[in-house]
Every structure is written in structure tokens, then in C-alpha cells.
């Protein structure tokens, strides 16, 4: 588990519109990489290209390469579904399957992947995933109640449990705490620090203090102007970005001097 991702000269297009231009970065395994930047700068778009989720938008395409360890994610014979199995994603709004029980939500990924497991093995895996997501103690007595009955923070941790149940290599998180209160946010942040022992984590966040707290590496995206493509301005160790960034645009953004 936990693989390195090498992105090289990545351009992202929606049809003819160049949305993100020339991104190169190395995402280290067993670490948290945070992506920050103003709305519309392409950081979420970029995140989605890491597991080809952006292809759900018609006519979206990329140029350049994304390589996970030695596997080219955009190679000719690569099945995007297989990519998404290895690179899981957690979204801004917790999105458990509303009609399914807590148990089935966690098991869903495996069932969809046609893994046939004995009942006892499945029970183990659900328990292990919920424990990894720090949710087990809160739900162990109501595993067969609907997931939609949980609080927002619990639902988000349920989604994380569902994502890690299929044992991905990489976990992508798109503003996972922006709809949560500070206590649930704290729980998710603690969880990220625990999960990075086994996973490569990439998180998009608007909360710069969150990026500073949880990440090892921070990348700053910006766009030159309206209608221009977003680009990666700077990526470096998080302590460096928040103490002595090398680019003025980065400093202006993190210090709140923009516009």
C-alpha cells in the first residue's frame, strides 16, 4: 500500500478550454499533500485527474502523464474503473448511499468489485475499516441502521471507511471538512494523520490552517486571470510554504493579501 505519484507536464482540458496548465509534482507515499488556492484555480480539477474522475465530464481530457509507481494511469489499456479502485476519493459533502445500512455502505465497494467474501471475513473487514476511520465505537451497536441517520461528521468518516475498505493505494480528499463543525473537523484531521502511515493522501482544502496542521507538503494553485488556465505556482514542504514561501503570489495568498 501507499504509492508515489509522479505528475509531469499535465494539461487538463474541458473540450477546447485549457483549465489547468503544466502541472508537474511528485506526491510522496505515506504523507499528506495539501493543495490550496482560490476557487476556480483548478485544484479540484487536478485532484480528479489523479483517479480519472474528471472523465465523468463529457469531453474532458488530459495531456502529459500521471504515473503511480511504474503504472501510467493514462496508458492505452488502463481501465479507469481499475484506477479508481486503487485511488479512492472522499468528497466535500458526505455521500453515503442513503438507503443502505452503515454495514452495507462500508461493504458496498467490495460488493461492487465482485469480491465474494465469507460472512465472517466481510464482518472483519467492515469492523477493521470502521475502526480505521475512528467510527467503530460510535456505530458498532447500530450497524444495520441507515447510514443517513448519522451526523455529518460521522457520515464523512463513514465515507472514509467505505473508501479504505477496498484497500486503495492513495486517498484523495476534496475539501472533506468544509461542511463539518470544528469537532468533526478535528476528528477527520486526526484520522488523516493516522491514515498517512499506510496511505498516500492528497487533500484539497480552503482552510489554510488545516493545510498547515495536517500536511507534509503543500502545493499552491493560482490562475493568472479570468479565462486563463490554473497553474501550480509552488509546491514545497508545508513548514516552508507557511514560513518562507519562494513566490510572492504564494505569500500574498497565505497572508490573506489577494485581490
Amino acid at each position: 500500500m501507499a504509492k508515489r505519484i509522479e505528475v509531469k507536464d499535465l494539461d487538463i482540458y474541458y473540450d477546447k478550454f485549457l483549465a489547468v496548465q503544466g502541472v508537474s509534482m511528485t506526491i510522496q507515499p505515506r504523507s499528506v499533500t495539501a493543495l490550496i488556492g482560490p476557487s476556480g484555480c483548478g485544484k479540484s480539477t487536478f485532484l480528479r485527474t489523479l483517479n480519472r474522475m474528471h472523465e465523468l465530464v463529457p469531453n474532458a481530457r488530459v495531456e502529459g502523464s500521471v504515473v503511480m509507481d511504474d503504472d501510467d494511469l493514462y496508458g492505452p489499456n488502463v481501465d479507469p474503473v481499475n484506477v479508481r479502485r486503487q485511488i479512492g476519493m472522499v468528497f466535500q459533502r458526505a455521500n453515503p448511499f442513503p438507503t443502505m445500512s452503515i454495514y452495507d455502505n462500508v461493504a458496498a465497494g467490495l460488493k461492487l468489485n465482485n469480491k465474494r467474501l465469507k460472512k465472517s471475513d466481510m464482518d472483519d473487514l467492515v469492523e477493521r475499516s470502521l475502526k480505521s476511520a475512528n467510527l467503530w465505537e460510535e456505530v458498532k451497536d447500530r450497524l444495520h441502521k441507515p447510514g443517513s441517520g448519522l451526523s455529518g461528521g460521522q457520515q464523512q468518516r463513514l465515507c472514509i471507511a467505505r473508501a479504505i475498505a477496498v484497500q486503495p493505494e492513495v486517498l484523495l480528499m476534496d475539501e472533506p471538512c468544509s461542511a463539518l463543525d470544528p469537532i468533526s473537523t478535528q476528528a477527520i484531521e486526526d484520522l488523516m494523520l493516522e491514515l498517512k502511515a499506510n496511505y498516500t493522501i492528497v487533500i484539497v482544502t480552503h482552510n489554510m490552517q488545516q493545510a498547515a496542521r495536517v500536511s507534509d507538503t503543500t502545493g499552491f494553485f493560482n490562475l493568472q486571470g479570468v479565462g486563463k488556465p490554473g497553474e501550480l505556482v509552488e509546491i514545497d514542504e508545508t513548514t516552508r510554504i507557511f514560513s518562507t514561501p519562494s513566490q510572492k503570489a504564494t505569500e500574498d495568498y497565505i497572508s490573506g493579501r489577494f485581490g
Binding site: M208, Q209, A212, F242, S243, T244, P245, E251, I254, S255, G256, R257, F258, G259
Partner: protein, 220 residues
């Protein structure tokens, strides 16, 4: 954006600048009281020291508020952290000027200094005040270059300080033990004053460059 915040940061620098101005004046007056047995001036320096202490508290309070409420990062964070250190050093400079004034008061109406070492203390006073005036410009952000020339001034102070030792230790010294002790302490006060000024200047360079000041060389 964040106009109020930027204003607060500017105010913090201005407060430190005012503090340096106070301690520059204090050293100028303290030296005058020392050289001319001027009791009134000595008393003024002694009673004015509380202003420096108050300014330090105010600067610390402001820095604390900025940390608590604005979560400064990068250059802003360096300004706040450097200011906390600087405020303490500047207050110490004020205390050292105070010590000089107290020495003048203690010996009044007798002169503290034997005539043959007066020129050395005139120079110590001149260079220390010059250092502090430069430091004020550095702190106010008007003259980053001055931060570098401060080190040369400090070398000059160290040199005078060392020479005074040679004079006191000489077998021809004829003023006895008590003045020797006074001179040693006084010379040390001037030397420390200059060191603190250099240390504050280094902190201010750190604000600009982001490189931590070199601790091993800062306190000699």
C-alpha cells in the same frame, strides 16, 4: 485586503521604533550625566525608564493579540516573532542606560571617571547612540542596509572596551580599586548596549530574509 490587520502590523513596527528612539535618548543623556556630573539629567534618565518598560508591555500585548486573532504567517509571522524578541532587547538597552545614569548619581558630586579615561567614554557614548539611531531606521523599515553597518560600529565598541581593560590592569593605574570597578562595569554596560542593538538588527534582517539569525555569533 485586511487593511486593519496591515495597520496593526505597521503600528507594531512603529511602536518598536519609538522604543529605540527612547533608549537612544536615554543613552545620550546618561552619557552626558556621566561626563559632566549632571545629577538632574541622571535623574531624568532614571525616571524615564518606566516609559520604555511600558512601551515594551504595549508592544508585547499587540504582538500577542495579532497571534491570537490574525494567525499571521510568512513575513507577517516573522515580524511578530521578531518584535517579541526585539522588544525585550530594546528594554534591556534602556536598562543599561539606566545603570550608567545610576552610576553618575551614586558618585555625585564627585566625577565617576578619572580624566585620562574620559575620552574613551565619550567615544563609547557616541558610538552607542549612533548605533541606536541607525537601529531606529532599521526597525522602522527605512534602511535595511544600516543593519549591516551596525556590526562595524559594534566592533568599535568592543575595541574600546578591551582597551579600557588594558588601562585598568596596567601597573601605572593610580586611581585605586573602587574607580576600577566602576569603569569595568560602565564599560561593560556600553558594550552590552551595542550587542543588544546588533541582536535587534539581526532580528529585523530575519524579517526580510527569512533566515534565522546566527545565534552563536550574536552574543559575545
Amino acid at each position: 485586503m485586511r487593511d486593519a490587520y496591515n495597520l496593526e502590523l505597521d503600528n507594531l513596527r512603529a511602536q518598536l521604533g519609538d522604543m529605540v528612539q527612547l533608549v537612544a535618548e536615554a543613552m545620550e543623556l546618561a552619557t552626558r550625566s556621566l561626563l559632566h556630573q549632571d545629577l538632574e539629567t541622571a535623574e531624568q534618565v532614571i525616571s524615564d525608564d518606566v516609559k520604555v518598560d511600558d512601551a515594551r508591555s504595549a508592544a508585547e500585548e499587540k504582538a500577542y493579540g495579532l497571534l491570537a486573532l490574525q494567525a499571521p504567517v510568512a513575513t507577517d509571522l516573522r515580524i511578530v516573532v521578531a518584535s517579541l524578541h526585539a522588544a525585550e532587547s530594546i528594554e534591556r538597552m534602556g536598562d543599561l542606560a539606566l545603570h550608567v545614569a545610576k552610576a553618575a548619581r551614586r558618585r555625585h558630586p564627585e566625577p565617576v571617571l578619572p580624566p585620562d579615561v574620559r575620552p574613551a567614554f565619550e567615544r563609547l557614548g557616541d558610538v552607542d547612540v549612533r548605533l541606536a539611531r541607525k537601529l531606529e531606521r532599521v526597525v522602522r523599515g527605512d534602511d535595511a542596509e544600516a543593519a549591516k553597518s551596525l556590526e562595524d560600529d559594534d566592533d568599535e565598541v568592543d575595541e574600546i572596551h578591551r582597551n579600557l581593560f588594558t588601562v585598568i590592569m596596567d601597573r601605572d593605574w593610580q586611581h585605586g580599586v573602587s574607580p576600577a570597578v566602576d569603569l569595568t562595569l560602565l564599560s561593560r554596560f556600553y558594550e552590552r548596549y551595542a550587542d543588544h542593538a546588533v541582536s535587534v538588527a539581526r532580528r529585523m534582517l530575519f524579517v526580510v530574509t527569512g533566515r534565522m539569525p546566527n545565534h552563536s555569533a550574536s552574543d559575545v
